[in-house]
Symmetry: C2
Subunit: 461 residues, 2 copies
Amino acid sequence: MAKIRSFSYVLCHLVLVLVNVYIFRKMYYYDNEKLSWSQTAAQEAEKIASISCSGHGRAYIDGYVNVDGNPICECYSCYGGIDCSLFSSNCSVNVESGDPLFLEPFWMQNAASSAVVVAGWHRMSYVFPNNQFFISKELEKNIRKIHAIAKNAITHGKYIIFGTGSTQLLHAAVHALSMDNNYSTVVANKIPYYSLYKLQTEYFQTRHYEFGGDSSVLKNNSDFAGNVIEFVTSPNNPDGKLESPVLNGPNVKHIYDHAYYWSHYTAIPAPADEDLMIFSMSKLTGHAGSRFGWAIVKDVNVYTRMMEFISLAEMGTSKEVQLRALTLLKAVAQGDGKQLFNFAQHVLTYRWEKLSHIFSLTKRFNLQTIPTQYCTFFERTRKPSPAYAWVKCKRKEDKNCQEVFRVAKIIVRSSRKFYAGDRYVRFSLLTGQHDFDMLIHRLKELVSQEYEASAQAMSSF
Amino acid sequence: MAKIRSFSYVLCHLVLVLVNVYIFRKMYYYDNEKLSWSQTAAQEAEKIASISCSGHGRAYIDGYVNVDGNPICECYSCYGGIDCSLFSSNCSVNVESGDPLFLEPFWMQNAASSAVVVAGWHRMSYVFPNNQFFISKELEKNIRKIHAIAKNAITHGKYIIFGTGSTQLLHAAVHALSMDNNYSTVVANKIPYYSLYKLQTEYFQTRHYEFGGDSSVLKNNSDFAGNVIEFVTSPNNPDGKLESPVLNGPNVKHIYDHAYYWSHYTAIPAPADEDLMIFSMSKLTGHAGSRFGWAIVKDVNVYTRMMEFISLAEMGTSKEVQLRALTLLKAVAQGDGKQLFNFAQHVLTYRWEKLSHIFSLTKRFNLQTIPTQYCTFFERTRKPSPAYAWVKCKRKEDKNCQEVFRVAKIIVRSSRKFYAGDRYVRFSLLTGQHDFDMLIHRLKELVSQEYEASAQAMSSF
């Protein structure tokens, strides 16, 4: 009996010792993972990210705080209340801006690879070392890599310049190209065109250039012999069409705004290989708020002048933004590098099909047509997936198309903002899923009104 | 005997169980601290931050990587080799730029409160919600708080605008102030002045203004009746003097460049209360690379125009930068809010004393004089602690002062860059400790040459 008891003690002991060894190993493993200075910030970030806001909003570490100092929920449109649980069924859906929030879920799915931890002493200097000045060479390398993966631009033998969004680079490019000549006329490729080209050129009112509208004005003026800078937006904002220059000749220079030239939004027939091309993080990864863009430039003089512009305008681009862009681009390039592109194209194709179906049921409106085209990135013919819907109000009385949609509780951008009268509107298809669902809901209501009206008209016969 | 054995088993058991309970508690505690998506990024950041580079350099998460994909050391000037252990005794020390690296150790000491963790989906939108557009209201609130702590500016009843460095805001301010009038002449307060005012105004060549030199030109021209925008840089860059406007009258508007109006660099006689004041994070926290500044503006029209400028130039300021600025300013405001100010003033006062002592030993050079003055922040009369030394070469033959220092292996900024001829140079006192030590070493060598030369001259008699 004593032997059995003794044996059971020993056994018990042994088990306990083994359990302890296991626990110690685990603790040691934990210890390896344990953090020092970044622990609190990381915990705080995760804590705030985990606030659910009823699935209808989001809390941010730099958001408004309540009396306890905790960030409060920022609700999606049509939702309210302290936890965004209150739905306002009567509200308007806003699809006016080009906010690329459709990519938010991708980054939530890739949270670990896209997180950035910035030390308090990170890159305090104005410049990167070794004569790199304002440009992170690692980021430049990764931008070239992404273009090689995306098959949308040839960067070999070209310079890369960073800017605070493509917005700044458009301005820098006009400035750099106009410096050779006494005077240049800046034109947009075709109507409809992105309003910034006009607004920016006119606002800064330099002595070197002025805005001349769309290029047809000069095309039809055979007497014009001045210097021209033509913006070629391809795919075009708003209508998504692939465009080429209208004007050519020794006095014409082109700025290719390729913000949307990613397989998210268009077939890529071939990599772009122009002398001055501008891209933005906003439409590649969806980080519009970061304000990061880059220009790919062939000519060394244009490159030098654009760098000078960036330097005198603001002494280079923020180091925090460059670090985040680097992290995000590395995450994009992971594995076969196709994950983001597949995700984006999948979401936008689905949305376009959904929208096309609704517009096929109405005679009141017309949706732009986009051809199915062979895409060298996907190595197949692909369906359309544009960033925006460009919709015409066909009824004679619907002169102000934006107003028609406003009444239907859909806030859109009028074609007036694209210098194309009032007959068209632009819907963004880049919104968060919630806003897209609301858009579809409101559109169905609008289209069903047409049926109800015709049913009423029929019944009155 | 059996009883004793049995008792010892039970005791042993009990101890083991207690140890286990302790360990389990500790594990549970660890579990609470355990991170999910931010863990890898935080570990990576800490790992890279811990690379020592022999104490003569630093590794960054966005730095060049070696063949194994690990970031390599970026060495301080005069150091080289893979771990920055090789000292080049013959090299020049560079104190030319205004890089505020003297504040780096402060952020290393405050690593936990200054760390920032950015989620992949953080602030992807162009705008903050609730009509805040491009401005983080939390950051704005904290900027007002810092000025209240620093007692250097009155923000009450004024608007705040963010920019990509004060650099962008200087440009935006000139633009906004010139829009009222047909034409404005932009002048700098006094010679010597910061070159950017001239370079920027001339580079952008708008139809609304041109650069007119320093204000004495207009002061002495009694016939001049045009509109004037005067930059008042106080404390002045390069010489650190507190300045007030030279020109006054109904046609004169002022832009107060208060980048250095912090108790780091000057006594604060009273909080500044001007209509248009510009500050920068670069000279407050030392984060020049972030490119973040703000303007404090009284007039709503000037505010609106400056906001329009920022919007058309680049659609607002990066969200990453705003988040980092918020974190850093919160860290500054911790406790009694005086920690950073004490640190900065302490370092710079020490440096100024060290430099003053060396220059007191030479007749060849002259250091600017800065009065001891009562400071409302420190609530006492304080010694000088300017950002820069402004040094005159007194010998007739030392016409090119920069060259004298270049030969002595000290790279400085010539007074030519401040439109003040070649007789003066600017040394930065804002460098990292290593560069400051090197500067003192080289200066001692230079001054000792003077003694050797006079000794030789004496011995030749």
